[in-house]
């Protein structure tokens, strides 16, 4: 029986209305789906065309005629394509060509647009603009970047700090302290900033920082970085921090043991031996691992005591030792 059958309409008008409505909604949705897909295909073709055009103009500018290219930028979409191509080239090139493209980026109004976007209320827009400024030459934008150190979003403020700290003149303890106060939880970002500070100014800068009232997370990071840069001069301070934290904070003690292991100075074995009798099994395990690298005699002397330790962590540390002994044999 057809839907348009007059009997059906007369006998079941509501059912027919419901059926037609559902059918129309379904068809409209399908049409919408197809139109969206068609729009996307057209846009992607347009993008390829524009990309080729811009790329040719840039190559011509770099390796052919010296005349500044006149880009045909008609919409926001064109602007995005141009920015992407320029940034890709700036990243890939170096020397004179890179310098030329940075000027071109500025003259095309892209840098101005990035600076405007730094004021956006959306953190990801600010962060994106910041990363563009980072690639396309940041040295002239210090003031704008410094204002971002107080950005409510940690990723933005720490990234601004990252760009600023690339220039040795900008990297200072005060600046870092400001950032630490604001974002103590950003472990990974802070770690790279602290490492850069330590690389630039030596372990002493970190030791000075550690003597100020630091949040524990940052203190732990500093301890870890001292290990990474193998700062032998930090051992006396680490020993005093070890004594202070021994009963109060197992995490700090564990971190110090790892750092002592990385520094690799056998004279620091005293603190490690003390930790053999720490109440926390993970600290004892860490001490065994550190002692194995610093002085194997200490391990052999106490191997029987360790074997009697029933904890899983110590058992695992011993497994490593047995594995290495087997491998050496």
């Amino acid at each position: 029986m057809s839907i348009l059958d007059s009997n059906l309409w007369e006998e079941h008008p509501l059912l027919v209305i419901a059926l037609i409505t559902v059918l129309n909604v379904y068809l409209l949705s399908v049409v919408l789906l197809l139109s969206l897909a068609a729009r996307r295909f057209v846009r992607s073709r347009y993008r390829v065309k524009k990309e080729t055009l811009f790329r040719d103009q840039i190559e011509d500018y770099l390796f052919g005629s010296e005349a500044t290219p006149q880009f045909q930028v008609k919409s926001k979409f064109d602007f995005t394509i141009l920015r992407s191509i320029l940034l890709k080239n700036i990243q890939a090139l170096s020397g004179q060509e890179k310098a030329k493209l940075i000027v071109l980026y500025e003259n095309s109004g892209l840098l101005r647009n990035d600076l405007e976007r730094l004021k956006s209320r959306r953190w990801w827009v600010r962060l994106k603009a910041l990363s563009h400024i980072w690639i396309a030459g940041s040295s002239k934008q210090n003031e704008a970047l410094k204002s971002l150190l107080n950005d409510p979003n940690d990723s933005v403020s720490l990234s601004a700090f990252r760009i600023l700290s690339q220039d040795a003149d900008n990297l200072s303890l005060e600046l870092l302290q400001k950032i630490i106060r604001k974002s103590p939880g950003r472990r990974y970002l802070l770690s790279s900033a602290l490492t850069r500070l330590a690389e630039k100014e030596g372990a002493q800068s970190l030791l000075t920082l550690m003597q100020s009232a630091l949040p524990e997370k940052v203190l732990l990071l500093c301890v870890q970085i001292l290990g990474q840069i193998q700062a032998t001069e930090a051992l006396p301070y680490l020993a005093s921090l070890f004594d202070k934290s021994y009963e109060k904070d197992a995490e700090v003690v564990e971190s110090i043991l790892e750092t002592i292991r990385k520094i690799g100075d056998p004279q620091a074995i005293g603190a490690v031996v003390k930790a053999f009798s720490h109440p926390m099994s993970r600290v004892r395990a860490k001490a065994i691992e550190a002692a194995w690298d610093l002085s194997r005699e200490e391990i052999y002397k106490r191997l029987n005591d360790f074997e009697r330790d029933g904890s899983a962590e110590v058992r695992r540390a011993l497994e490593k030792i047995h594995f290495e002994v087997r491998k050496a044999a």
Binding site: H12, L15, S29, L33, S155
Partner: protein, 463 residues
Amino acid sequence: MSVFLEYALFCFTLYYIAINSFYIFLLILAYFENLKIARKQTLIEDPFYFPDVFPPISIIAPAYNEELNIVASVKSFLMLEYPKFEVIIVNDGSKDKTLEKLLEAYKLEETHIHAGLYLSPTEVRATYRSKLHPNMIVIDKVNGGGKSDALNVGVQYAQFDHVCAVDSDSILDSRALGSVILPFVEDPERTVATGGTIRVANGCTIKHGRVEDVALPAALLPNMQIIEYTRSFLCGRTGWNAMNLTLIISGAFGVFSKKAVAAVNGYSKSLGEDMDLIVRIHKYYLENKQDYRVVFLPDPVCWTEAPEDVKILSRQRNRWHRGLADILFRNMGMFFNPRYKFIGFTAFPYYLVVELLSPVIEVASWICLAAAVAIGIANKDLIGYFLIASVAYSAIVSVIALVLEEIFYPKLKRIEDFFKLAFMSILESFGYRQLSIFWRLHGLWDFVRGRTSWGEMTRKGLS
């Protein structure tokens, strides 16, 4: 009898209208949620981002008898565009050549690797590191304890604060890690878990561990699953996420804070270990009155091979349903418990009534319809409304989910594929849906009988 059948059909029609209207409501929520999410995702689309902003991640892939896919999957993990990550493959005592394939393809060397946590008592036979990729390690453990135990072993060896659980037979999109970690970048203090979407890889062209061309498969069954996955991830999960009530992060692709996993003592043995972990995380944080969030993201994509065989698909759906039943019954105390806030008052009842019991309700509705037609006593209008509410309305939900996907995360490249999917959205309601209901009902029955086996899952392999 006829009055009873008419009354029952009327109730079932109302049930379908209510369920599908709720899906439409979730779709509306999902639209606004996607608007929000898609804007932030532009941070990842743009390749010029700061590497320091993104925390390092440990990818954990348990592997049991995965010799067909394992090399390609590991390759896809190693090729991810992400600043810093490690890949941990946990060989769960495979009986095939999974380990041998890994040893050969990645030049593994036995070495001692320190386990920083203690979550599993299972014996680890050996640990290996790749000579070709220093950020790839393989943990060879004895079989036992299931997937959850293998994941726990992986978490033990993870050196970073964020762990990403993936299936070793799946392939991640090259920028999936960057996308899935964004909620952690945005709010590192509160975010404890994030998860991405699972898509069907059947029919796609995969080269060098990457999905290069997205197309629909020729077989009917995987196409039906594509519709199902799109509806479930883009509509259901995104909608729930808008209300901050995500209860499932798929086991095939999820990132967790290692601290949160350790706080709940890792994965526990369950057929639905992924949902179980999230439920226990919710419980832990709500009981301890700590602020937290679990986030589902519709864009980071993990490609997986959907079963093309009815038998295997039925086993998979049976297991999923038993897993759901197990978790809901184990956490009965959360239902309408003010301590668990909206999770107890909305998400849990929804999963019970709509997800767990729907096979019972739907089978009853179709039996009722068949009886009414057979006896010839039912009101014809009512039968019409019943079919509109159950078949046509659900086809509309499916097509709108496809529209949403095209607006925010388009992947298909051929116009004929859109026609095919639109047609499948109707076809799905005739046969496939009923089969799926039957498998789930069977799963529920197996759960009542106490069956806990995983079921053999053979795959063709992604190539």
